[in-house]
Amino acid sequence: MKELMYKEFKLSMHPIAYIFLILSALLCIPNYPYYVTFFYTTLGIFFLFQGNRENRDVYYMMVLPIRKRDIVKARFYLVVCIQLAQVIACIPFAFIRGLIPLNNQVGIEANVAFFGLAFVMLGLFNLVFLTQYYKSGYKIGIPFVLSNVVIWIFIIIAETLDHIVSYMKTICESVTGENMIKQIPVLIVGILIYTAITILAYKKSADSFEKLDL
């Protein structure tokens, strides 16, 4: 797996995924739907897959002495690395946003609960985009549209609940230290959901990819 990860970063990684990390700074905009930052993460992953298709990555990999499942596993690791890098890159900007004494008028604040919900969003993206992609091994357009339909529905639901459910309304819409501690369960649940559905997505994708005739 070490060799495969080296290959993923050296040959497969698309520079746009690094560039989109800078977009974590979007969290500094006082009024902004912060989930959009993570939409760019998904877009970077889309470009990664597009680049690999055009570079005939699969045909390079198939000759190597590796198991077909491991091709999928290495790619999942890369996707998770990109997503975690984006989350980590967002943290300092969330702190900076916290220094601005204005409430976000167009969505959730850049707080702990937001990160928890963003994890769920990324997990849903993985579940739809990656499993759909590995059904064919080359189609990326429809999987990306489908995954974005799902994540935008999730965003709308999350933002709506933010105004309806009283725990979300009072605690998750706050950036005070005291309330952010109370938001930690949302973050933990978010991480757990992200982990569970990404593992599920990997199993499904690896099974489909193994059955594929290339």
Binding site: K7, K10, L11, V63, K211, D213, L214
Partner: protein, 280 residues
């Protein structure tokens, strides 16, 4: 020892099927895998490497069942596809740097040697290489991890006659010097004339013959005669025939000789055999 043994390989597609494909290959030989476009050559080779899952059949490489030993077997196999052009914008040295990590037996000294021998510049991008150079680069990679079975999918198709000849000479040298075995698919019959000791012929997904080249060629004869000499009895014995302004020509199985009439019987060459077999 058989380096490769395929038994009753079947794979059904909507409009095409591989039917009971079977053949063996001995160590230290060059086998040409021949057939027209769409005959099933690439599908068979892909099945050999698990790119394509066969519906049934057994593949043994180095006497080991391939499906159970894919990981270790691929350490000893080099697959070179003429048409494939992966990572065209990457430098050769970058691709090598990544690829070599996957092979336990990677030999850097040998690799440097092949670069020199094939005049490959590691600073060049894949897209800057000619078709012949691309094949040679893949060959350098395969040989540097000491692959003992080399499988080529149409390595000569995109090459000019000089590069083609050059590559075929290299095949012969490799078998002599490195004791590798080479299986290569082609539809260019002159490739086989030059270097293959064995021929496996595939037509519409079925193996028509798999034998040494001499026996394969000896199994057929060309028949030529004038228009007057052509008769129903002759045409029935022929595999297929062509009529032209000054008479006819056709192919016959040697076992079906003699043939009535004073027609000319000539030794067949691979190209004629292929043309007439495909007309059948």
């Amino acid at each position: 020892m058989d380096v490769l043994s395929i038994q009753n390989l079947n794979k059904k597609y909507e409009k095409f099927a591989l039917k009971n494909v079977s053949f063996n290959m001995k160590q230290g030989t060059i086998m040409g895998f021949i057939g027209r476009n769409g005959a099933g050559k690439t599908t068979t080779l892909k099945a050999l490497l698990n790119y394509v899952h066969a519906d049934s059949g057994a593949i043994k490489i180095f006497d080991e069942d391939f499906s159970n030993n894919e990981f270790s077997t691929k350490q000893k196999v080099g697959f070179v596809s003429g048409g494939v052009n992966y990572y065209p914008m990457k430098k050769i040295k970058t691709i090598t740097d990544v690829t070599k990590r996957f092979y336990k037996e990677w030999d850097e000294v040998a690799y440097e040697g092949y670069l020199k021998r094939f005049h490959l510049d590691p600073e060049k991008k894949v897209s800057e290489l000619s078709e012949g150079m691309k094949v040679k680069y893949q060959l350098a990679l395969a040989l540097s991890h000491h692959a003992i079975l080399l499988i080529f999918d149409e390595p000569t198709s995109g090459l000019d006659p000089v590069s083609r000849d050059d590559l075929l000479d290299l095949f012969i040298t490799l078998v002599e010097e490195e004791q590798v075995s080479i299986l290569f698919s082609t539809h260019i019959t002159s490739d086989l004339e030059k270097c293959a000791g064995y021929v496996t012929y595939i037509k519409n997904g079925e193996i028509l013959a798999s034998t040494d080249k001499k026996s394969f060629v000896d199994a057929y004869r060309l028949v030529k005669g004038s228009s007057e000499q052509f008769s129903e009895a002759i045409s029935k014995k022929l595999i297929s025939f062509k009529k032209h302004s000054d008479g006819f020509s056709g192919l016959i199985r040697t076992e079906n000789l003699p043939i009535t009439g004073n027609v000319e019987i000539l030794p067949a060459d691979l190209e004629s055999i292929m043309i007439y077999i495909e007309k059948e």
